[in-house]
Subunit: 461 residues, 2 copies
């Protein structure tokens, strides 16, 4: 009667591709640009390479056959990794505790899949890593039912230059006419949040050139360890399993968890009434469960630190806002590290006033998460909810007013509402930090507005 | 430098469980109830069994160890299928073109996973299919890194009665105090949309009993075929591959696609200038691409039919609304079958006025998709956007007013915004149909409101 089946991950996302942002040719074109650009920015910035990103969109065949090419000067992809990177869903290098744009190991595969099912064409890649002596060139499709790559062609040639980086080209069904505004908006906002990047975009009758206005870059994040508040039984069980079973409990918690030094380890073990000298291999299942409960309820752990994060900083954020919005006044605030459920995060906010910013009835909101511009689903984003609850009159802002709010959330785990990365869920700690950051910036804005009101009053006399 | 890894589907959803609705103990408890109840209602209703659903929640150990049990009189699960059904992500019987609550093959696995990582405990199942001579009892956990079940225990005994159905019990971390309102709300709305179901809910200091107020049930949906507007190259390639390669092109399109009879097949082949007698095995890749493009651009296909759908119908929808909202007046509208991208859908709307409905400043919205109550993310749901754009004054509704709007979308593919099934995306055809349905119902409401105004005017004299 009922027929029971198993689906591979690629099969699942083929059937439910709208959940990843590939619902129709307009949205798919936008999402494809995003996936490629975000990969290129990670490949450069995470390795402190000043990004040079080239994006070229052309109409291959009217009305809706579109070619997209993205080139970067990043670290490249090891040639033996290329087939899985482009042809296997849930494959990537971002599965570690470190702030990056990529997190799911899915993005580029969705673009490959959509191009393949609408045009039958493979993705084309040229790439070379920094130390490699060869340049690899591949054409790849996906075996969707098995979640495996199909290598259509693979060519390798000697590298005669110092070139490193990746060029990716796709031919896909896409609606440039309907998608262009969002794509241009996305690229503009990308330039806002990465003022140290050179971005060149060429589309059908449009050319956008953003030259870096600074060579200063944020410090790349380092891979971190889990924090006691972020663990569960599965994680704890695995950490114990992969470690030298002769290790003591004390050494284990110091080695495996974020911010646990000798002093804290000692205090915790005493409070929890656990024997720190007990060997890991001697822990029973119920003792492991007890350890978990004690670790989650102990209040003396250090707050998670910012080593695995990479905020812009107030100076770079200001530069990016000035470059794109040309305001009369900008204030930026980068908050201290906070955390939710053991995941460290930092909120950065900018308020931009006047200049080229239009008069609006409520603040224009620019949302970013891990330096990704978020353009859709503003209605359910926590940032919009905070902006709407602020009483702006307390800061001498009377609408209509030329006010833009820029909110940037950095985290090892951004609480995205979906795999399409469009909106941030209303996690209480994040909401509070966004509110505090906006109010902190708004107090500076108030000083400025008070100042120019006084000047006007003086001039008026 | 970068470390490349592959994740299994269960591993992916373990790390990103908030995307499936398992973000914290409060939300996870709500989602667990949903996943179990929705499975039980599919297991009964899809097979024309009047549903008897029992839901029992108890606090196992304060403050947050909760036991959840759900029992149904459905078709049960074949005992050899139980391990994969409960222990493998992307496994199920809902991967066919037929309206059902379940679609992803993921729901129960998320509940099993969350319980396991918070308490270490397996899920317990007792089940028996209608024709089976045995009752199977299992305790199951998940091997999360491999996406395989771990059978902790399996017992089988002779069935001495005619019992059939499934009982599922989980022990999980959950916040009953914070989740209870939403859970009760969910159960109440489930009773609204399934007036033919007996639902019994027992929780810590609460008991809800909903007895069916009708034995009439909607006709179960049948598994359908894809419509030409819903296909892509991958689908077409596979359909060709699995079919007898000696079949002619004409027989192929008549056999494999929705609503293609001899006449339509003939007209299409003539319009497309294709040879209907050509054997499938003789089609080249470019001929297959050409066939796809022709099928997608041909305007003479029949509209998708309602065979694979199962709307409530105006009568049952009215009964459900009356049972739960106790209004003074109800009007219900079930629209004709429509479609988007080849996916058939039906919109049903109810307007409820007065009686126990409170005075509100904008209509209370009850959203349903495939008979699932949607409680979160109203802000980005297409139904909310339509309700807010309606000029209610044209229908003699002046706020504050005691008005509730019930919107039910039935489809073989509900355009959910995420795997958590909380909101419906703004697909143009769906938006238009919801608007038309509400306006149609609003015209009846207007007649009623006009009538009672006249009565009042008469009485006033
Ligand atoms: N331009 C590039 N340069 C270097 N490495 C790349 C590039 N594009 C992709 N990769 C590698 O391929 C992997 C898979 O990319 P993909 O976009 O599918 O997933 P992701 O970026 O890890 O996560 P997400 O799904 O969130 O985007 C990346 O993790 C990265 O290691
Ligand atoms: N109470 C039940 N009675 C009968 N079959 C059930 C029951 N619960 C689950 N199943 C079977 O197990 C399968 C998997 O259930 P699961 O909830 O994981 O996925 P689904 O319901 O198919 O889709 P979704 O992820 O959208 O809920 C179902 O497709 C169904 O065949
Ligand atoms: Mg990516
Ligand atoms: Mg289900």
């Amino acid at each position: 009667e009922e027929r029971y089946e198993s689906l591979s991950p690629s099969e699942f996302f083929y059937r439910n591709r709208e959940i990843a942002g590939f619902s129709n040719p307009t949205r798919a074109l936008y999402q494809t640009v995003r996936e490629l650009v975000e990969n290129s920015l990670d490949a450069t910035e995470l390795h402190k390479i000043p990004p040079d990103i080239k994006i070229i969109i052309s109409i291959k065949e009217p009305p809706d056959l579109v070619s997209i090419l993205v080139e970067d000067n990043g670290i490249g992809i090891p040639h033996e990794e290329v087939p899985f990177v482009f042809g296997r869903v849930f494959y990537g290098s971002k599965y570690v505790l470190r702030q990056s744009r990529g997190v799911f190991g899915l993005g580029i595969k969705m673009a490959v899949l959509y191009a393949q099912i609408t045009t039958g064409k493979p993705i084309w890649i040229r790439t070379s890593t920094m130390n490699s002596k060869i340049i690899a060139e591949y054409r790849i499709k996906m075996d969707i039912s098995r979640n495996m790559p199909i290598v259509i062609s693979a060519n390798f040639r000697k590298k005669r230059s110092k070139w490193h980086g990746t060029i990716v080209k796709l031919i896909t069904k896409g609606n440039w006419t309907l998608a262009r505004r969002r794509i241009e908006d996305y690229i503009r906002r990308t330039a806002m949040i990465t003022p140290y990047a050179d971005i060149y975009f060429k589309g059908p009758d449009v050319e956008l050139i953003f030259k870096r206005n600074t060579r200063k870059m944020p410090t790349p994040p380092k891979v971190g360890k889990p924090h006691p508040y972020g663990i569960d039984l599965e994680m704890l069980r695995r950490l114990i399993e992969i470690h030298n079973r002769n290790i003591t409990l004390r050494d284990f918690i110091m080695k495996c968890f974020e911010g646990v030094g000798e002093g804290i380890a000692h205090n915790f073990l005493e409070w929890a009434r656990l024997n720190g000298d007990k060997k890991l291999k001697d822990l029973s299942t119920s003792e492991i469960e007890n350890l978990l409960n004690k670790m989650k309820s102990y209040r003396g752990w250090r707050r998670p630190r910012a080593l695995s994060l990479s905020p812009l900083g107030e100076d770079l954020l200001r530069k990016g806002i000035e470059r794109i919005l040309s305001p009369e006044y900008v204030v930026t605030v980068t908050r201290k590290t906070s955390s939710y459920s053991g995941n460290p995060f930092i909120v950065e906010v900018g308020l931009a006033w006047g200049g080229k910013i239009p008069m609006v009835r409520s603040p224009i909101l620019y949302r970013f998460a891990n330096k990704i511009p978020l353009l859709y689903d503003e209605g359910v984003d926590v940032a919009r909810q905070v902006v709407d609850k602020i009483d702006w009159s307390l800061y001498r802002v009377k609408f209509p007013a030329p006010l833009a709010v820029i909110v940037h959330l950095c985290s090892t785990k951004v609480p995205f509402k979906g795999v399409g990365k469009e909106a941030i869920a209303d996690v209480v700690e994040v909401e509070k930090e966004i509110e505090n950051a906006i109010k902190e910036a708004a107090r500076s804005l108030r000083k400025y507005l008070t100042l120019i009101e006084r000047k006007r009053a003086l001039i008026a006399k």
